[in-house]
Symmetry: C2
Subunit: 367 residues, 2 copies
C-alpha cells in the first residue's frame, strides 16, 4: 500500500491494473478512504459503507471542502446505529469521483488530466476497487456492507459478485437497475453540463473555470428527484423568499427557487463536472439482472449472506416496487432477507435524514 501524497487523505494505490467491465484495465488506481472505530485483532468487525452519487468517504467527519458534518454523521459514530465503538467502519471514495480516488480529474498516463479520456466505469468496477481495498487491509469477511441509493447498488453488486466477502448486506432506497425515467433525469443533467461552453469537451482543468453553470443545472434537476412532492410542499409551498409580494420579474421570488439555486451553486464548489458525467453513466448502466444472464435471482444464487432491504414510501426515484423486485429475487434463491418500507415524508433523501425507524432497522440488522 503506497502512502497518499496528501497526509490528510487515507488512500491506497492498487498495485495491479483494475480490470473494468468495458474490457479495459486501469493502471495505478488510487482509492481514497476513511475509517472510523478500531479494527478488531481478528478483523471480524469491519463494515464497508458505500456512498451515493455525490457522496464521498467523509461519512462521519467534516467534509474537507465545505466543513459540514459527514453525510451520515447521524448514523455512524460511537453509540449510533452503526456503532463505531463496536465496528470498524470503512468508506471509500468511488473511482470516477473527485475526492481522492482516481477519476477524470486525475492525472492520466500522459501527465494530463484524464478528462473524457477516462474509461467509462460501472458500479461493479467501483466495487472491484473497494474489494481491492479490503484485500489490502487484510479483511477476508466483512461484518456487513451497507449503502443507500447508489451505495445500495454497490451493496447489491458486491453481494452478487463477491458473495463470500460480507456476512450482511443492507441496501437502502435503491434499485437493481436504472429505469427509463432514472436514465432520463441523468441524461438531462449530462446534457446540461455538456451544453456549457466552459465544459470544453471535458478539458476544462487548469483553465480557471469549468462548466459550473451546467453542473448547477444538473444538480438542480437531480435534487428535485431526491425530494417528495409533499416534502417540497411542506418545506416551501408557494412561500415567497424575502419579499411580501411577487416581483413580476425573474428573480427567485419563491423559496423553492432560491433553495434550488443555492443547491446548484453550492454543489459546484465541491464536485467535478466530469465525475458527475461518469458516475451518472455508471448508474444508468446498472442492471444487475443483465449482468447475470437476465435473471436477477441468479445474481444472488451463490451468496450465504443475510440481506436487509429498506425503502421509503415517498421515494419516487427508487420506489418501494424496486426494492420488492430485489426481495422477490432473493426469495427465489431462498436467501435470508428482511424487507421494510418505512414511512417518511422526505422522499429519496430520507436515507440521509432524521428517520428514527431507519436507525432502529440499521442497528437491529447489524447486531
Amino acid at each position: 500500500m503506497a502512502p497518499s501524497t496528501d497526509p490528510a487523505v487515507k488512500s491506497l494505490r492498487l498495485e495491479s491494473p483494475l480490470p473494468l467491465d468495458s474490457g479495459q484495465a486501469l493502471d495505478g488506481v488510487r482509492v481514497a478512504y476513511e475509517t472510523y472505530g478500531e479494527l478488531a485483532a481478528d478483523k471480524s468487525n469491519a463494515i464497508l459503507v458505500f456512498h451515493a452519487l455525490t457522496g464521498d468517504q467523509h461519512l462521519a467527519s467534516p467534509h474537507p471542502i465545505t466543513g459540514k458534518p459527514g453525510w451520515w454523521d447521524r448514523m455512524v459514530g460511537p453509540g449510533k446505529p452503526i456503532d463505531t465503538s463496536r465496528f470498524h467502519v470503512i468508506c471509500a471514495n468511488v473511482i470516477g469521483s473527485c475526492m481522492g480516488s482516481t477519476g477524470p480529474a486525475s492525472e492520466g498516463p500522459d501527465g494530463r488530466a484524464w478528462a473524457m479520456r477516462f474509461p467509462v466505469i460501472t458500479i461493479r468496477d467501483m466495487v472491484r476497487a473497494q474489494v481491492a481495498l479490503i484485500d489490502a487491509l487484510g479483511i477476508e469477511l466483512l461484518h456487513a456492507v451497507v449503502g443507500g441509493s447508489m451505495g445500495g447498488m454497490q451493496a447489491l453488486s458486491f453481494a452478487a459478485n463477491f458473495p463470500t466477502r460480507a456476512a450482511r448486506v443492507l441496501a437502502i432506497a435503491t434499485t437493481a437497475r436504472h429505469s427509463a425515467q432514472n436514465i432520463a433525469f441523468h441524461e438531462v443533467g449530462r446534457q446540461a453540463i455538456m451544453a456549457d461552453p466552459n465544459w470544453e469537451g471535458g478539458d476544462y482543468y487548469g483553465r480557471g473555470k469549468g462548466p459550473e453553470k451546467g453542473l448547477a443545472v444538473a444538480r438542480m434537476a437531480a435534487h428535485i428527484t431526491y425530494l417528495s412532492e409533499a416534502g417540497l410542499t411542506g418545506k416551501f409551498g408557494r412561500r415567497l423568499q424575502d419579499r411580501e409580494a411577487k416581483s413580476f420579474g425573474f428573480d427567485a421570488d419563491f423559496q423553492v427557487e432560491s433553495y434550488l439555486r443555492h443547491q446548484g451553486i453550492a454543489f459546484t464548489d465541491r464536485f467535478d463536472a466530469n465525475s458527475y458525467l461518469y458516475i451518472t453513466r455508471a448508474m444508468d448502466y446498472f442492471d444487475l439482472a443483465e449482468e447475470h444472464g437476465g435473471r436477477l435471482a441468479d445474481a444472488f444464487a451463490g451468496t450465504p449472506a443475510r440481506f436487509c432491504l429498506v425503502s421509503f414510501d415517498t421515494d419516487w426515484l427508487y420506489p418501494t416496487s424496486e426494492s420488492r423486485h430485489v426481495v422477490h429475487a432473493l426469495n427465489a434463491v431462498a436467501a435470508p432477507v428482511s424487507f421494510v418500507e418505512l414511512s417518511a415524508p422526505h422522499g429519496h433523501d430520507s436515507f440521509l435524514l432524521d428517520v428514527p425507524a431507519l436507525d432502529r432497522v440499521v442497528k437491529g440488522f447489524l447486531e
Copy 2:
C-alpha cells in the same frame, strides 16, 4: 379589428391597452388565432380552446413550422369529440408566446424586440387578451371553454374572472395553483436557458443564434414530467438505440436518451426561449385561490357555468388530487360539476394522446 400583416395568420390588434396583473398596461397587443367550423348566425355555438405551455393556435391544422398535424387534431374536427360541423372552435396563441401573439420576440415601443423588457404576465392576463378577442368577434356567451394543462388553468381563470361568458368549463389535467415541485421543474428550465451564454440577457434576437442548447435542456427536463414512469418504461425500458451493446461512452446508448435529445433539439426549431421563460413564470405565479382572497371556492362564487374536471391516474405533474381540490371548491359554492379520473398509461400528456374515454367525456360534456 386590424388585419394581420401575415395573410396566413389570423390576428387581432387590440385597440385599447391590455391591463396586466403587474399593474402595467400593454399597448398594441396582437392576438393571433385560428378558427374551425362555422359560427352560427346567433353566435351561440363558439367554443374557445386554450392551449398549453408550448402549444399554439394551430389546434386542428398543420403547424406552420413543423408541418405536423395540429396538437389536438384527434379531438377537434368534423364528427370528432369537439365537432366542427356543429361548433365554431376558436384557439388563440397566448400573449407571451411566439406564434403571432405579442410576446418577448415582438417589436417593443422602441422598435427593438421586447426581449426581457416584456412585462411579466399571468394566466389571467392571457385570458384577458382572449376575452378581448371574443369581444371583437362579437361573441357574448361561449358554448364552452376547454383546455388541458396550462389550457385548463386558463379555463379555470376564465370561469373565475369572466363568470358569465361561458356556459361550460372543461378543465383537463390541470391545477388551480402551481405546487413547489411544479415551480422547481420550471426553475430548472429557466436556469438552463439563462445559463446559456447565447441567451445574452434575452437580447439574442437577430444575432443568428440564441440559447438553443439551454432551451433544449429545459425542454428535456420538462418532457420527463409529461410522461409517467410506467409509460417511459413501456415505451423505452432499458432498450439500446441502434446498437447491440453498450458503447461505454457518452453517446445516446439508450433509446430514452435518444428520444429526449430529439425532443429537446426539435423544440428549439419552433419555440422562442424568452417565451419559455415568460410562460413558465406565468404558470408558476398561478394560484387561483390567492387571487380571490385565499379561498378557492370564492373564485367560483359568481359563476352560473357547468364544470367538468378530468384528471389522469398516471399524471404526476398535476395529479388527481389537484383536480379534486378544484371540485371541492366548486361543490362548496354548489356549482354543477362532474369529475372523472381516467385511467391512461401516458401520464400528463394523456390529454393529447389516444384516450378514447377522454373523447367520450369531452363529447358528452359539450352536448
